[in-house]
Amino acid sequence: MDARITLIVNGQKTTVVTDPERPLLEVLREDLGVTGPKYGCGEGRCGACTVLMDGQRALSCSTPVGSANDKEITTIEGLADGDRLHPVQQAFLDEGAIQCGYCTPGMILSAVALLEENPRPTDEQIVEWMNGNICRCNGYEKILNAVRRAASQVKEVKRS
């Protein structure tokens, strides 16, 4: 049975009437045209669909949209401040941490969630946190460098 569900996507409040069992990922992509979150496995094992839900990392492919009612959803499209990229986005550019780029939105959002929770992660903590995100181009080395770079910049911002 369809339900009325309110989502706040990248700051915009929107209402959808749909089956609450549908994955949040599909509602974002099909109903709202927000295609930054990607389908990779459909069971929360690759991280390509990662979004932030009320600031916390969430796997949108295995989140029923009904459970996202009234939640603030941030996707890759909502991360930059106008033309100014989020430090994690900028770090991915600066490190060239992109091959095909399909995993990139999920990688960036996972890293953002990490740095929100732990602005000074050790390498081990970064690896542990990011391990749920797969990159099949296997660009892990440069992605790690990007997260390290972003972490050092976030630290600087927080200090100043």
């Binding site: 749909t18 089956d19 045209g33 990607k38 996707t75 091959q99 892990y140 080395e141």
Partner: protein, 708 residues
């Protein structure tokens, strides 16, 4: 059945494309009008440049705003051609790379540069684009010279401006773009013998130009094939057989037909549903699938697959040198071993995806395939329409690794779109990708070698069953050899994968070389060098041994920590790797802690991108070396998900110490494949160094479990 083992890359079928002047200019923007003589052949021609040439206008378009559109049939899937081909054009046109707008992989707009495979972009397409750009520069310079009534050799070109020093005047490409004589000039063919910029004068090539659309990737603005949406579009789902070889005997479509907003079609074995959401389409398909009855046939399982491949080995005659039989019988020691490789999947992050739209009997598809022109032909033939009524557009896609030569999703979407009269998207699930995409061939490789009294290899017998013939020849100097590449009866659909059979063949050869070295009582490095005349391989092998500090690390081997090395050559590039592994005997785990790799592919065109490719090859190679394998029984894949099929993750990443060797006196070769071939054998050899046990099959953790 070997699908596509290659290759493909070197023999594009040049298409005869009539460019519609109005639509072309609409698509490219205003500026130089393109007029291509009717019937002019588009495409770079065959490898070596001896093929048919194309009009400059089919490759280069000067825009009024000073930007330059460059057209190529190559596909961006993360390996870096968007930057590399932009650099190639910028270099020869003498403009900054930011002026280049690369238009890729759209059969309505671009020449056929052959399928994106076989590391052919660097040796074939880069030269083709450079020739096109250099010819355009020459034609533009000639026109300027004509205007000024001077000899073209008195003019200089930089930053898109042609300068006449004598009268202190310049004219830009954009100025010339408005003139009718440029339009006429660009109908000329690209010159295949035009001088290209020598390596030591490169300004843009040889530098680390980032991927031009990187910003769209990090902001989520880029639209991948699975992100494409068309007005009034439906989402389609296709009925899959429950097992390989099963045929549909009956099905009741009424349950789906009764569902709101659902369309369903059956055409023989093909059954598909479409709905305004993927969720509804999935529910509809599940409803009809529950009513299907199937006739199944017996299938080989992964437990018995190697015996099956060996039993069904067929075709191929060994290539021989000297007399292996006599040399074996004269040998002081003879070793004989068999190596095995499991089936693996490519699992690109973006599974197969397509949107198809019919309009006035013409089909347009947006999809992720390696060969847009090839896919155009196969779609036309599958759908029974002329190929000039099919347009294939490949947006930069989410990975391929040799696994997207075929366009199944495009054909499925086109069938549904035709049946329902609306655009339809078909996005494969991960399970579909694991189950129905072709995979990398499994292999059985039988090696036999004979050593003389001095410990030199005098006889070499190498029989490789099923993986294909890439890198099958030994690079070592051995007087008597017999080398066989045989086919077999593959129970799974198989095809290309990064570096093809070279990974399997190099695994067996380099692991067996280690066994021979041990039998000869020699150090693995010294043993290889003693048999190696190829200076390029020697150079990378010696470099990697030095950087890794091979002698010291080898002395420090313990029962838990071992080191191994391997080298190889394929696709005109050379690689060598040293690795250090740590063995967890209780859990039969192999942790690769450190990889040192040296790679040389001629003059490096984009160092940062080449580094990404080498890092990617090494890390990707860890998967099939250690864990990855498709398990199957009764025609079903038993581990068709990332839960059961373990690809490398952050935790698997070893310390990488990569040395890119820039050799400028030979032509550039591609670098996205060969760096994968040394990693597996180096690991096998390191496992032996630590444990004294040989692991002769990939994935090796399974093999280790059997021996420790």
């Amino acid at each position: 059945m070997i699908e596509d083992t290659l290759e493909m890359a070197e023999s594009p079928r040049p298409d005869t494309v009539k460019l519609n002047r109005r639509s072309f200019v609409q698509l490219l923007g205003t500026g130089l009008l393109i007029t291509v003589t009717e019937g002019v052949t588009l495409g770079q021609g065959r490898r070596g440049g001896g093929g048919r040439s194309i009009a400059v206008a089919a490759r280069i378009h000067i825009n009024k705003d000073g930007t330059i559109s460059v057209m190529t049939g190559k596909v961006e899937e993360g390996q870096g051609p968007r930057a590399q081909l932009s650099q190639a054009a910028a270099e020869e046109l003498r403009v900054g790379v930011d002026r280049i707008r690369l238009i890729m992989s759209d059969t309505g707009l671009v020449p056929d540069d052959g399928i994106t495979a076989g590391s052919r972009t660097t040796p074939s397409t880069v030269p083709a684009v450079r020739q096109g750009a250099a010819t355009a520069r020459k034609l533009l310079t000639d026109l300027a010279a004509k205007r000024w009534k001077v000899d073209p050799s008195t003019l200089t070109v930089s930053d898109g401006s042609i300068r006449n020093k004598a009268i202190d005047k310049t004219i830009t490409y954009a100025d010339l773009a408005n003139s009718a004589d440029v339009e006429e000039a660009f109908t000329q063919s690209v010159s295949s013998d035009i001088a290209l910029t020598p390596v030591d004068e490169w300004k843009t090539m040889g530098t680390s130009v980032p991927r031009p659309n990187s910003r769209d990737i990090v902001t989520g603005a880029h639209k991948y094939p699975s992100d494409i949406v068309r007005p009034n579009m439906l989402y389609g789902k296709i009925l899959r057989a429950p097992s390989y070889g099963a045929t549909l005997e009956s099905i009741d479509l009424s349950r789906a037909q009764a569902m709101k907003d659902v369309l369903v079609v059956r055409d023989g074995q093909f059954v598909g549903c479409a709905a305004p959401s993927a969720h509804t389409a999935r529910l509809a398909l599940e409803a009809v699938a529950a009513t299907a009855s199937w006739k199944t046939v017996p299938q080989v399982s992964s437990r018995e697959v190697h015996a099956h491949l060996k039993r069904n080995s067929r075709g191929g005659r060994p290539r021989t040198k000297g007399s292996v039989e006599k040399a074996m019988s004269d040998s002081k020691k003879v070793l004989s071993e068999t190596y095995e490789v499991a089936y693996v999947q490519h699992t690109p992050m973006e599974p197969r995806a397509a949107v198809a739209e019919w309009e006035d009997g013409k089909l347009t598809v947006w999809t992720g395939v390696d060969g847009p022109q090839r896919n155009q032909q196969s779609l036309a033939s599958a759908l029974g329409v002329p190929s000039d009524r099919v347009r294939v557009i490949v947006p930069d896609m989410g990975g391929g690794f040799g696994g997207k030569h075929t366009g199944e999703a495009a054909e499925e979407a086109a069938r549904l779109a035709r049946a329902f009269g609306r655009p339809v998207a078909v996005h494969w699930t991960r399970a579909e990708e694991f189950t129905w995409a072709y995979c990398r061939p499994a292999a059985v490789i039988e090696c036999k070698g004979g050593l003389d009294a001095k410990g030199s290899i005098v006889a070499w017998d190498f029989a490789s069953i099923n993986p294909g013939g890439s890198a099958i020849d030994t690079p070592y100097s051995i007087p008597n050899t017999s080398i066989l590449s045989a086919g077999s009866d593959s129970p799974l659909r198989q095809g290309s994968y990064r570096c093809l059979g070279a990974t399997a063949n190099n695994f067996a050869r380099e692991a067996f070389m280690d066994e021979l070295a041990a039998a000869a009582g020699a150090d693995p490095l010294a043993f290889r060098l003693a048999h190696l005349e190829n200076t390029r391989i020697r150079n990378v092998l010696e470099a990697v041994a030095k950087h890794f500090d091979w002698p010291r690390r080898r002395r420090q081997t313990t029962t838990d920590v071992g080191v191994g090395l391997a080298c190889g050559t394929e696709k005109n590039s050379v690689v060598a790797a040293c690795v250090q592994v740590r063995i967890d005997r209780r859990r039969a785990r192999i942790k690769v802690e450190h990889v040192c790799e040296a790679f040389e592919c001629g003059p490096i065109q984009n160092p940062a991108n080449l580094l990404s490719q080498v890092q990617g090859c090494i890390t990707m190679g860890l998967g099939p070396a250690l864990h990855e394998q498709l398990q199957f029984a009764d025609g079903k894949i038993l581990n068709a998900s990332f839960a059961g099929y373990l690809v490398p993750r952050f935790k698997d990443l070893p310390t990488l110490d990569i040395h890119l060797m820039n050799r400028t006196d030979i032509p550039s070769a591609g670098g996205g494949e060969t760096p994968i071939i040394a990693i597996a054998p180096a690991i096998a050899n390191a496992v032996f160094a630590a444990t004294g046990k040989r692991v002769r099959s990939m994935p090796m953790e399974d093999a280790l479990r059997r021996v420790v």
